[in-house]
């Protein structure tokens, strides 16, 4: 697959939030205002990109030569947890202003399904190192797109009258459902129509 095809697949066709339901918890939890949504989105994109590449290296450099493929889940989650910790420390040292913006979101990312999900999907799809990195960045951007759209809708929703039992989380889910309906327009045939497959 070309890099454009990978990009389109993970941002639109297989958008992690709206099609595969990965990372729903931060999507509902952190989408109350658009500033924190952007921060969360950028932090996730950064982490998915880096972890995709490193997990690929760990899988093909360590696990496969030693025939330990069955340990991939344990290894990947450890890599992700320590990497998130490392990223947090590096950002705090290099750029305190960026740390202020992203800091509170970083610890949450370890348990974000997208990060582990894309690392495992890269291995299942037999991507090479660069393709894995591209898929990681694209899936993070897909998350960013969805969460920014959602936060803008929710800021407007706050000003509209909603029945008491629907207020908050239920209406957020229904909004996400309608967004997912719109995203169904992006189909696998998009790739073949653009002659990318």
């Amino acid at each position: 697959m070309t890099y454009i095809a990978i990009f389109l697949t993970y941002v639109f066709i297989n958008n992690f939030i709206l099609v595969q339901f990965m990372g729903i918890c931060p999507f509902i939890g952190v989408s109350k205002n658009s500033e924190s949504a952007i921060g969360m989105g950028l932090a996730v994109t950064f982490v998915t990109g880096v972890t995709s590449a490193i997990c690929w290296l760990v899988y093909y450099g360590i696990l496969q030569p030693l025939h330990l493929e069955y340990l991939e889940t344990v290894t990947f989650i450890l890599v992700i947890a320590s990497l998130v910790q490392l990223v947090e420390m590096v950002i705090r040292k290099i750029s305190p202003s960026l740390y202020k913006a992203l800091g509170i979101f970083l610890p949450l990312i370890t348990t974000n399904c997208i990060v582990l999900g894309i690392a495992l999907i890269n291995i299942t799809n037999n991507y090479n190192l660069l393709e894995s990195f591209a898929a990681g960045v694209a899936s993070g951007l897909g998350f960013t797109l969805a969460i920014i759209l959602m936060s803008n809708i929710r800021e407007k929703l706050d000003l509209t009258p909603v029945r008491k039992s629907f207020r908050g989380v239920p209406i957020a889910f229904i909004t996400a459902g309608l967004m997912a309906l719109a995203f169904m327009a992006f189909d696998k045939s998009l790739l073949s129509n653009l002659h990318l497959v």
């Binding site: 709206l18 099609v19 595969q20 339901f21 990965m22 990372g23 729903i24 918890c25 509902i28 069955y70 340990l71 991939e72 889940t73 344990v74 989650i77 450890l78 947890a81 320590s82 370890t110 348990t111 974000n112 399904c113 582990l116 999900g117 495992l120 999907i121 299942t124 029945r163 008491k164 039992s165 629907f166 989380v169 239920p170 209406i171 957020a172 889910f173 229904i174 909004t175 996400a176 459902g177 309608l178 997912a180 309906l181 995203f183 169904m184």
Partner: protein, 212 residues
């Protein structure tokens, strides 16, 4: 050892509808009833085992590195489930796909480890794990039942003997509401169910106030 620890997870503190944890597998695998049951069984096993082990090791694990320790314990049990299903139930293994290893990052399991098992006895943690797991399975089965009946007009359960495990619902089989089986249906249904449970707890609170 209290029975209360077992029953609270099923309705009053249901992990899916009340605490809203573990949304990714809840929505991802509920296209067929049998997938929901398979996922539920996996989560009950992992949750119970990790709760027991973490409660037993709570005095040994240093406080500063407890989260990585919990994650490694959980990931090991998930790997066991993965290998077991791969060997004995390949069709469920294939249907659950990437959501199976994602049990590791299911917030319910880490949440119970942090909020309950690290503070309570082994016996209480065992009951808590089973109860929360059952509550999760029931919620998943309810969502899968609604989505499969409306979206495909069938109910897929285990195949036993001559029975192939698929129950057809007349009318809906021929004219299914297809969107329910697809991604948007899951999100819409979750919103309506959550609103329904909010309404129930509101009514209950009103009744309690009226009784006072």
């Amino acid at each position: 050892m209290k029975v209360k620890e077992l029953t609270k997870g099923i309705l009053r503190e249901n992990p899916v509808f009340i605490i809203m944890l573990g949304m990714c597998p809840t929505l991802g695998v509920t296209t067929q009833v049998i997938n929901a049951l398979g996922m539920g069984a996996g989560v009950i096993f992992v949750l119970t085992c990790s709760n027991i082990l973490i409660a037993a090791l709570k005095n040994i694990i240093p406080d500063s590195v407890r989260i990585p320790c919990y994650i490694v314990i959980i990931a090991s049990f998930v790997t066991i489930v993965e290998m077991f299903l791969h060997a004995f139930a390949p069709s469920i293994y294939a249907a659950l796909g990437v959501y199976l290893p994602l049990i590791v990052v299911n917030c319910i399991i880490l949440g119970r480890a942090e909020a309950f098992a690290s503070k309570n006895s082994v016996a209480d943690s065992l009951l808590d794990g089973i109860g929360m797991g059952l509550g999760f399975t029931l919620a998943l089965t309810l969502i899968a039942l609604i989505r499969e009946v409306l979206g495909k007009g069938t109910i897929t359960v285990f195949a036993i003997g001559g029975f192939n495990g698929v129950i057809s619902v007349p009318l809906l089989k021929d004219w299914p509401v297809r969107v329910m089986a697809l991604a948007p249906g899951a999100l819409l249904l979750m919103g309506y169910l959550k609103a329904f449970f909010n309404r129930l707890s509101e009514k209950k609170a009103q009744n309690q106030e009226a009784a006072k």
